[in-house]
């Protein structure tokens, strides 16, 4: 029995094409980017780490937004969006949490510092890992969606509170400040910008694929429940 194609499939090809083109351009630009005179080759992590952070924060915010929309409209599609955003966000967060310490060891001389941004991001990572575990340990699609929506909203609401809390406790941050207009060296602007474009494209591609997967799973569960009900009668 063939299933009807999920509604997101038209986005599938579009995001795949954008991802492929931007990834090729990004790799070429990073390959040819000038090497930072103080940091050396390890400075090129700049073209990976902030784009990964962009993907992670996009995922976390969309999780909260998807959860809130699910509770408001009671529409399963928003739950698929929230679940997909959390999984993709955690994936980007892992890339960010791995690339950051590698750069830090080469530049600061230590893997980790308990300063504001690092601690905030680590806590956020744990919140969304707990979110995914909550989804996998809860049974019943409606209950999973409701519980996850509440936890996702709480996770987003705590971001500003955590920011003030860690700001209060951590003191001066050694993490580089936000990049300004001319804070990148000559020739580094394009690979950096393309990194952000590629990360956004990769995020969109994975998000669409994961939403499709969620849709197919719930469709299969519906068909199995229907077949079971027919068999019983």
């Amino acid at each position: 029995m063939s299933m009807a194609p999920p509604p997101q499939s038209r986005w599938h090809t579009a995001t795949a094409v954008v991802l492929a083109v931007s990834a090729v351009a990004w790799i070429w630009l990073v390959w040819n980017a000038p090497v930072d005179s103080r940091q050396g080759e390890i400075g090129k992590i700049l073209f990976v780490h902030p784009p990964a952070a962009l993907g992670a924060y996009l995922g976390f915010i969309l999780t909260g937004v998807g959860g809130a929309l699910y509770l408001w409209r009671d529409d399963e599609r928003f739950d698929h969006l929230a679940a997909a955003a959390a999984e993709v966000g955690v994936l980007f967060a892992v890339v960010m949490l791995l690339s950051g310490p590698i750069w830090a060891k080469g530049t600061w001389g230590k893997w980790w510092s308990w300063d504001l941004r690092l601690t905030l991001t680590l806590l956020l990572f744990f919140v969304y890992v707990a979110y995914l575990l909550l989804r996998s340990f809860t049974e019943g699609s409606d209950r999973v969606a409701r519980f996850a929506a509440i936890y996702g909203i709480a996770g987003v609401a705590v971001i500003p509170l955590n920011y003030f809390a860690i700001d209060l406790a951590a003191g001066r941050s050694i993490h580089p400040e936000n990049l300004g207009g001319d804070s990148l060296g000559a020739g580094m602007g394009w690979p950096f910008a393309m990194g952000l474009v590629t990360a956004t494209a990769a995020f969109a591609f994975l998000l669409v694929r994961r939403i499709e997967l969620g849709w197919l799973r719930s469709e299969r569960a519906r068909r199995e429940a229907l077949a079971g009900a027919r068999g019983a009668s």
Partner: protein, 221 residues
């Protein structure tokens, strides 16, 4: 409001008759004191004393997680949770009744274990006892608001013992940091700092609003 009082009375009465949660939480908190005392480097009592506020709150947070894990366990027996869900009132009031009972329980454990901490680490907490009690209540409100909501969720997962601390601890950082900073300064100078207190108050407010509104969807069966 009547529902709040009825749920509060029921939970406190059950606890008064059995006292199992209170005893378990208290023994656990005191055990944490003992473990932390032996974990502290020998001959550095001054350093250990400086860390007491942080250690105190670590013990209280873990004892709270332990106690909240049982908060909804009784409601599963005889399907009492479904009966609660059918109560003819806004479910937010049921949440407030459960949360308030938990705050009273946690505050009792905090008071008794603070005495054990003071004796073990040679601290004179008596001059700041009133303000420390207010801080303990504010911290307990923060811990028990989201904690009660998550407890209602965790109880219906397949891995309930593990799920509650995993859900609670990453979100409790603002409560913990605000309370620890306030307690540190209170014990050291006798004064309450405004910024951490503000953080604690705002966090309590935000957590209460999220939990009050969110409980509607947790009990919706």
């Amino acid at each position: 409001m009547n529902v709040l009082l009825a749920v509060l009375r029921k939970d406190l009465l059950i606890e008064w008759r059995s006292r199992d949660r209170l005893v378990a939480m208290l023994v656990f908190a005191v055990l944490v004191v003992v473990v932390l005392y032996f974990a502290a480097p020998p001959g550095q009592e001054e350093t250990a004393r400086a860390h007491v506020p942080g250690l105190l709150w670590v013990a209280w947070v873990f004892a709270t997680v332990l106690g909240l894990g049982r908060s909804f366990a009784l409601e599963l027996e005889n399907d009492a949770l479904s009966a609660l869900a059918l109560a003819p009132a806004d479910r937010g009031w049921i949440f407030l009744g459960k949360a308030l009972a938990n705050v009273i329980l946690v505050t009792t454990v905090q008071a008794l274990s603070a005495v054990a901490f003071a004796l073990a680490f040679g601290l004179d907490l008596w001059p700041v006892a009133g303000r420390l009690a207010c801080l303990a209540v504010l911290g307990a409100i923060g811990l028990c608001s989201l904690g009660t909501l998550f407890s209602a969720m965790a109880i219906r997962t397949s891995n309930r013992e593990v799920m509650l601390p995993l859900l609670m601890l990453p979100l409790m950082v603002p409560v913990l940091l605000g309370a620890v900073r306030c307690t540190q300064q209170l014990v050291a100078t006798g004064e309450l700092p405004w910024s951490p207190l503000q953080l604690l108050l705002v966090t309590d407010g935000v957590f209460l609003i999220i939990s009050f509104l969110g409980f509607e969807y947790v009990l919706d069966e």
